[in-house]
Symmetry: C2
Subunit: 301 residues, 2 copies
C-alpha cells in the first residue's frame, strides 16, 4: 500500500479543518501550504499573526490558494496551544497539529481538564510505514509517547492502533506483540505481556483485531521465517500492527525503517478526542503531508 493513497482518501471526503498551535515557523508553513496545494484540508493557524503573515508573504507565490486559511493571533506559545486545543474541543477543527512549540506545551493543553481532549485512554504514537518491497502498510506502535508501558497500557496502545488501522481500510488488523523470541520466557517481560495480550484478545478484552504473540520481528513480517520456526498463527508473517515492548524498540525500528530501509512514514498521536500531528523538524515534507493525511483519514468516517 502506498501512503499517497491516504492523501487521495483524505481529499475525497468533505473538507476538514486542522488547528495548528504556534504556526510561526517556515517549515510548519511549508507543510500547511503543501497541504493546501493538495486540497487536503482547511487550516486555522494560531500564533504570532505578524510573523505568520510575514512568512506567508514570502511563500504565498508558490501557493494556488490560501482562502482556506484563517489566522488567529496568540501572544504566547501556551496561549496558541490553548486556543488550538479549544478549537478542536469546540468542533471548529477536526485535527490538532503541533507547530513551533515544545511537545510538552501542546500536551499540557491537550490534557487540560476543562477544555482538553482526554478521553481517559492512554495517548499513544502510531506510525504507518510504506516499506519498499512490502505490499501492505506496516504500523509501528508506540515509538514516541510511552516509555515502558505496562500490560494495561499496552492493551490501550493496541486499541488505539487498531482504530487507526481501521480508519485506513484494514478491517480486522493483525497485531503482533513483538519480543526477541516467539516463545514465552519468564525472564523476558515482553513475552509475558505478549501472551497476556493474546489471551485478552481471545476473551474480548481487546476487540476488532487478531492479536498473536510473542513474535520476533522476522516471524511477524515474513511468512517464510514463520514457517522456518514452525509457527502456526493467523498473525505470523502478515502482521499489520507491530506492538513494540518499549520506546527504545519502537524508536530504533522507526529510525531503522527510515534510514536503512528507505521507508516512508506518516504518524499521529491517537487516544485523544481528535488525532494529533506532532511533526518534527527532521521529518521530510512528504512525511509531514502523510501525517496530516493519516490524521484526516481518522476523522473522515
Amino acid at each position: 500500500m502506498l501512503l499517497e493513497s491516504l492523501i487521495d482518501k483524505a481529499t475525497q471526503v468533505s473538507a476538514k479543518t486542522i488547528a495548528v498551535a504556534a504556526a510561526e515557523d517556515e517549515e510548519v508553513i511549508d507543510a500547511v501550504l503543501d497541504a493546501l496545494n493538495r486540497n487536503l484540508a482547511n487550516f486555522i493557524l494560531f500564533g504570532d499573526k505578524e510573523k505568520i503573515n510575514t512568512i506567508l508573504e514570502v511563500k504565498r507565490h508558490d501557493t494556488k490558494d490560501t482562502k482556506n486559511l484563517v489566522i488567529v493571533h496568540a501572544n504566547t506559545n501556551a496561549s496558541a496551544a490553548e486556543l488550538a486545543v479549544k478549537a478542536v474541543f469546540n468542533r471548529e477543527a477536526d485535527v490538532l497539529m503541533k507547530g513551533n512549540i515544545p511537545t510538552s506545551t501542546l500536551l499540557k493543553a491537550v490534557l487540560n481538564k476543562e477544555y482538553g481532549l482526554r478521553t481517559g485512554n492512554v495517548l499513544s504514537h502510531v506510525a504507518v510505514f510504506e516499506v519498499p518491497g512490502y505490499d501492505r502498510f506496516t504500523i509501528v506502535t508506540d515509538a514516541g509517547m510511552n516509555i515502558a508501558p505496562d500490560l494495561e497500557q499496552k492493551a490501550q496502545i493496541t486499541i488505539n492502533a487498531v482504530t487507526i488501522a481501521k480508519s485506513i481500510g484494514i478491517d480486522i488488523p493483525k497485531v503482533a506483540p513483538i519480543a526477541a523470541v516467539e516463545v514465552v520466557n519468564p525472564v523476558m517481560q515482553a513475552t509475558l505481556d505478549a501472551a497476556a495480550l493474546t489471551t485478552m484478545n481471545k476473551r474480548g478484552q481487546i476487540s476488532d483485531c487478531i492479536v498473536d504473540g510473542p513474535l520476533a520481528l522476522d516471524n511477524a513480517v515474513s511468512e517464510l521465517a514463520a514457517e522456518h520456526k514452525g509457527i502456526r498463527s493467523e498473525v505470523a508473517g502478515k502482521a499489520d500492527i507491530l506492538l513494540v515492548p518499549t520506546i527504545e524498540v519502537g524508536n530504533v525500528l522507526y529510525k531503522s525503517l527510515i534510514y536503512f530501509a528507505n521507508a516512508k512514514v506518516g504518524a499521529v498521536i491517537a487516544g485523544a478526542k481528535a488525532p494529533i500531528v506532532l511533526t518534527s523538524r527532521s521529518d521530510s515534507a512528504e512525511s509531514k503531508l502523510y501525517s496530516l493525511a493519516l490524521a484526516l483519514c481518522c476523522v473522515s468516517k
Copy 2:
C-alpha cells in the same frame, strides 16, 4: 565495506581449524562444505559419525576437497559439545561452531569450569552488518545473548565488540550507546547508562574506542540527522558500533536490517577464549559463511 572482504581476509592467513559440535545435519554440513570450497579453514566435526558420513556422501560430489575435514564420533549431543569445546581448550581448534544442538547444550560445555572457555568476561553477541547504501560496517551488540544488561555488563559488551571491530580493521571504533533520545532523561535507564558508559570511556575504564551517547539511531548513523539536532560528537553520524540497551532492541534492529533493509550479516559470540559461531536454521548460507569468516578474522592476529 563488504562482508566478502572478511572471507578474503580469512583465507589469506594461515589455516585455522573450526570445531563443530553435533555436525550431523544437512544445513550444517552445507555450511562446512561451503567453507571448505572457499579454503576458509580446516574442520573437525564432532557428532554421530555414521550420520555425518551419510550426509557427506550425498553432498561430496559438489565439493572440491574434503581432506581438510576430520570426523570424531560422539554418542550424544552433550558429548559432542564437550569434545568440541575441549578441542578448542587444547588448541587443536581455533573457533567453536554450534551444529544441530540447542544453544544451551553448547553453552553448558563452554561454561564448564574444568575445560570450558570462560575468561571471566560476559559472553555477548556481536553482529557485523553490510547495509546497502552505507560505506562502513554497522556492528550491532547485543542482539542475542544478554536480555537486559546492567551498566557493568554493557561495559563488557562494549569491550567485546571493540575487540571484534579491531579484528576486522576498525582501529578506534566509534561506539554509540543507543536510546530513544539523545538527551539524558532520568526516567529512561538507557540514557543514564549511555551517559555513564561515555564517562567510563573518558576515564579509561573502556579503552581503544570512542564512546558517546546517548544517541538515537538516526543521530548515530546519519550526519545530517545529527546536524539537524545540533549534536556535537565524534561518534554521531559515523558510529561503527551500535550498543543497544536490551535484547528486544537488538533483535528488532537485527531483523529489521535483514528483512526490511536487505542487509547482509555475520555474527559471533565474543568474550570467551575463542569466538563461537551460533548459526541458526533461518540464517542464509551466505550469512553462515560470513559468520565463520568473522570468527576466523578474530583469531588471525
